[in-house]
Subunit: 224 residues, 2 copies
DNA sequence: TCCGTTATTTTGAGTAGTCAAAATTGATTT
DNA sequence: AAATCAATTTTGACTACTCAAAATAACGGA
């Protein structure tokens, strides 16, 4: 069994890799920032992970998960996201607060408990924020999603994923009806104004900046 | 927030105190045994707990929880036992396996999550083994229970608590119908044979040794 | 090519928790 | 009172993780 610390290093590494092209190595500096430790700490730890065969690492060459490291990382991610969904669906916590809870619980739930949760939720493929949940074998459902600024004006879309774990942003999104499952019409995408205008079910138009709009990922709706 | 280690020291201390008269101090040696650490380790740690005001300690005089230590310990115990009940009732784990799970989860569940669990279970007073769950303010329901060897022959009783957390014993008890809520008639209590004979609902008599019988705690049934 | 900037690594030190083994204490026996 | 024994405490060392600060490497520009 890996320590919580090790699990966190692997998880952050996986997310950073996915954020990049998933192919090129992650710099120890990026990793350190992501984990909120000093660069030196990350370097030292990464050497240990390499010793354990969880990552490939060459001095000043960045870090990459090995196959075994990736497997372990996917397992942590699976625990994190299943726990999030469980907290929302079964315990009724708000989606804006479950990320923090899951940060701790992900290191504490056993395989046995996780299986019960998985079954109870019907082997779900996505967590409350629309992030994909790795299945028991570590496979991720993949969807080609558009971010709002990528949409065409007039397009009808459904919110599929909200890519920001901060409670503030999640509460904002919820307040505006921008939660997974909601349908929207893109009224305008204005590069110059740095803004996207939407219309939801309710009818009242909503204008949000590009930075926020980029975090809302949607699937096109076969307009009907 | 206390570390998992500290929480474990406090919890074991509380249980050892309850096991004794609850008044006299616990020796560092007993504590060490209970926690499965070496005596020296326990001594060092206890000094730290005393520094933090969680225990009273004098060299070679044993340890006792202060009021604040006791509060913290009861909180850990509450988390442990609520989690146990939750795992049995909501996730459907077997009562023989929840103790181990709770040993880890008790350090990971937040107050927020705990409150949801507490509510969902209806603010229960006892865990799956019949152990009392401290309420939110740390108060324990107290019941005067008899152990099987203390019962009179012919007495009708109800199993209220099974005082052994080992999966083996719990599976044995479950297999014999000796779970909280079951009613029994005491057929014989034989000091010399070191055995107690019972008859359950089913009718077939059951003989168990004193050591095992002491772990089964019962309430007398107003015979009707 | 040399210089300066920036990222990265190394080093020394600190905290929390642990063990093994030696030293101490207190109690018991003689 | 002295010797012995068991429990307890002290000590030195180790692991895992962390930071601060110094050393090193890499890269781009003059």
């Amino acid at each position: 069994m890996h320590s919580s610390t090790t699990e966190n290093y692997l998880k952050h590494l996986l997310l950073l890799q996915q954020q990049q092209d998933d192919e090129s190595p992650v710099s120890t500096g990026k990793l350190a920032t992501s984990l909120e430790v000093t660069p030196g700490t990350a370097t030292v730890m990464v050497k240990g992970l390499a010793e354990s065969g969880l990552v490939d690492y060459e001095s000043r060459g960045g870090v990459r998960l090995t196959r075994s490291g990736q497997k372990a990382a996917l397992d942590v991610l699976r625990r994190h996201r299943l726990v999030e969904l469980f907290l929302v669906r079964v315990l009724g916590l708000d989606w804006s607060e479950v990320h923090e809870e899951a940060e701790i619980l992900e290191h504490a739930v056993s395989e046995k408990v996780l299986q019960k949760i998985d079954l109870m939720l019907g082997k779900p493929a996505f967590d409350p924020h629309g992030d994909p949940i790795p299945d028991a074998r570590g496979r991720l459902a993949d969807r080609r999603l558009l971010s709002l600024p990528e949409c065409k004006e007039g397009q009808r879309v459904e919110v599929s994923r909200v890519d920001d774990q901060s409670p503030q942003f999640l509460r904002f999104a919820e307040g505006r009806g921008l939660t997974p499952g909601a349908s929207l019409t893109i009224e305008a995408v204005d590069e110059v104004a740095d803004a996207v205008t939407l219309r939801g079910k309710g009818g009242e138009p909503l204008v949000i900046g590009f930075a926020a709009a980029k975090k809302i990922l949607v699937s096109p709706l076969s307009d009907g």
